[in-house]
């Protein structure tokens, strides 16, 4: 029970920091309708980079510190990144009939996210060798 509470506290703390970091990036790079959503793309790719590294180390039994998967993965990275805002931005692009922009944004987000996970997964595994 105590361990459970510790895990929940770690996830809350990670989510707290992740949401604040995302809000600060969104404020620094304001999104204008019809433009490229740099803030969302930036937090999403940054979170995917960190998550790939953190979880690969957990999978390999080399976690950075106890409960790092919960604190940094489920908490920080998952909260730093966002799916709902990405979808809303896509819908607004479709509303404006900017279909090419919407398609490019969806494709770049997914490919950059996958590439980020692949990069840091390989990095974490290379360190182990």
């Amino acid at each position: 029970m105590r361990a459970d509470r510790g895990l929940l506290a770690a996830i809350f703390a990670g989510g707290f920091c992740g949401a604040i970091a995302r809000a600060l990036v969104a404020e620094a790079l304001p999104y204008e309708s019809g433009h490229w959503p740099w803030a969302t793309l930036l937090v999403n790719v940054a979170g995917a980079l960190l998550l790939g590294y953190v979880i690969t180390r957990v999978e390999d039994g080399r976690e950075l510190f106890p409960d790092s998967g919960r604190l940094l993965g489920t908490g920080f990275c998952a909260a730093l990144t966002t799916f709902s805002t990405l979808q809303l931005e896509l819908l607004q692009m479709v509303d404006d009939a900017r279909y090419a922009l919407a398609a490019a944004y969806a494709i770049v987000s997914v490919l950059a996210g996958l590439a980020a996970v692949a990069l840091t997964t390989n990095l974490a595994r290379a360190e182990a060798r």
Partner: protein, 129 residues
């Protein structure tokens, strides 16, 4: 953004991360009882449900024409943190690297397509009130 607003964004972000954990676990457990145990962990249905639900809720908030600090708290704080991009691309990467390219493509395609539908539907629903 004021320090007080940022603090509340963080608290709601932490709550969003905990809600994601609960919904993900509940959906994963429920799906696991109905499907082949060997495959139950393979498709990340829990995160799909979280992301689609979060996209629907964000659409409702937009449809309600919520603005200003209230919008920041709900959209950036709670729902931005509840939904996740990093876990989604991480799971897709792992599915693909296990050779389950069809499942990976389904996870990417279904999330994007249904997510857009969910945020649109939410906005229509929110606009009714």
């Amino acid at each position: 953004m004021s320090a007080a607003l940022l603090l509340l964004v963080g608290i709601l972000g932490g709550a969003g991360a905990l809600a994601r954990l609960r919904v993900d676990a509940a959906v994963t457990a429920r799906a696991g009882r109905r499907t082949d145990p060997a495959r139950r962990q393979r498709f990340p249905l829990g995160i799909l449900a979280v992301n689609l639900g979060g996209a629907l809720l964000l659409g409702i908030v937009v449809g309600f024409a919520v603005h200003g600090d209230r919008y920041t708290l709900i959209a950036t704080g709670l729902l931005g943190s509840y939904t996740t991009f990093s876990t989604w691309v991480f799971d897709s990467h792992r599915l693909a690297s296990e050779g389950r390219r069809g499942a990976a493509a389904l996870n990417v395609g279904a999330s994007l397509g249904l997510g857009l539908l969910a945020v649109w539907l939410g906005r229509e629903l929110g606009g009714l009130f």
